[in-house]
Amino acid sequence: MALGVENCVSISLRGVFYDSLSGNEETLGASDEIPFILPAATLDPRKFYGRLEPGVELERFSVLRVFPDAQGWPFDFAPFYRVLEAASRSGLPVMAPAMGHGSTTVLLRATSKYGIPVIVTSVNYSTLSEVLALLPDHEDMKVCIDMLNTPDGIELVCDEFGPEKLVFGSNFPTTYFQGPLLAVQKAQISGGARRKILGENAKKLVGIK
């Protein structure tokens, strides 16, 4: 693939904005057609309350991604706990955004209860302190660098908690791929740390050899 991407976790926007069932089917179809796509499933807790619709096989996906920001629901939300139960049964890590102050605290409280690995996306200068405060107490927590945009945010996480805590993400094609890539390339970290962030950590998380 152009841009030097070996694999990408990707999802159909149909599942985000319209219907998770048909969106998940579309994601699996794209993954079958384009092997470097690692399919991400989604469940919309405005509809899902614990019973998977026929045809949904979460085990076929790499990650379960949720979109409370686009769909307008909070993490302290009973149907979301059912989503986490489904992720736990399927052994999938959950990927979710940092929203306003306090939301990531609530998210981690919930995922810890179910013992689920979690990848927090969309962390920026405004939500960085919350994530840094949570990292020491949550072994299974990773931070996606898609919006980790402070001048030394990557260095700060690496120095304090180790590069194992970071995974690369770009939010492409909604936003530009080159910004987060350049941030990792220019970060004052070791080559080994860079390799972990750009691929090795994510490979472990989604089980790629």
Partner: protein, 244 residues
């Protein structure tokens, strides 16, 4: 080579060790920034006079550093003192205003009064957010055709904001679009170039709030021509500010 027209000196309310001039010089080396223009975070968030004093010391530390005089139209008398204090200092190359923090709209009577105190061709960087913010900055710019207005964030990170920014720049000739922000939709630069050409688009990073990587990636990943990229990354700012 890069000229960054939207940067800040001073501390912020989030975890970061990139504050002092030494660290910022290293950042400039790392990203190839040849000239960079700062306003003070202290001036924006808390104390205009102390913040501008901070800027004046900061920009003496590296020949690539330049300053904006921060003005708060909510306090016109104090702002006029700042214009008098730093207006003849060649290291200060423009003024900066932040309507969200000052609480004064870009086209308020106080703001218009302050603009009357500025010399011809003064560069005015204004934090410009949302369609209403764009409309007000363009309204202000129309009052002062001899000043040059830079719309910080090109109208914001919501689609409606930056689309309004592009349209505002198209219809208001003494305005420029500055491109930085946290969430950068992939179409915004290509669309701006298509609508107004590349000649009035300026590179800004918002460092030390945001790493320059994000804005640089926005230009390099935009799909526009190499000549347009060069204009945005440095050519336009070199001409506007007279940097050699």
């Amino acid at each position: 080579m890069i000229i960054d027209v939207h940067a800040h000196c001073g501390r912020w309310y989030f975890p970061s060790n990139v504050n002092g001039p030494e660290k910022v010089s290293v950042l400039c080396d790392l990203y190839g920034i040849r000239e960079i223009v700062f306003s003070s975070s202290l001036a924006i968030l808390y104390d205009m006079a102390e913040g501008n004093l901070q800027t004046s010391s900061f920009i003496e530390e590296d020949e690539r550093f330049h300053g904006y005089i921060y003005l708060d139209p909510a306090d016109p008398a104090a702002s006029e003192i700042e214009i008098t204090r730093y207006g003849r200092n060649p290291s200060f190359v423009g003024v900066k205003m932040h309507p969200s923090y000052s609480g004064e709209q870009p086209d308020s009577q106080n703001t218009i009064g302050l603009m009357e105190e500025l010399g011809e061709k003064t560069k005015v960087l204004i934090h410009t957010w949302g369609a209403d913010g764009v409309r007000r900055v363009c309204n202000l710019a129309s009052h002062f055709p001899d000043l040059q207005f830079i719309m910080g964030h090109m109208g914001g990170t919501d689609v409606g904001g930056w689309m309004a920014g592009i349209e505002g720049a198209r219809t208001t000739p003494n305005t420029y679009l500055e491109i930085c922000g946290s969430l950068l939709h992939r179409d915004r630069i290509a669309r701006a170039v298509k609508k107004i050409g590349s000649g009035r688009i300026l590179f800004g990073s918002d460092t030390t709030l945001i790493s320059p990587a994000w804005s640089i990636g926005q230009v390099t990943g935009s799909g526009i021509s190499e000549a347009d990229k060069r204009r945005i990354l440095h050519g336009n700012a070199a001409a506007l500010f007279g940097f050699g």
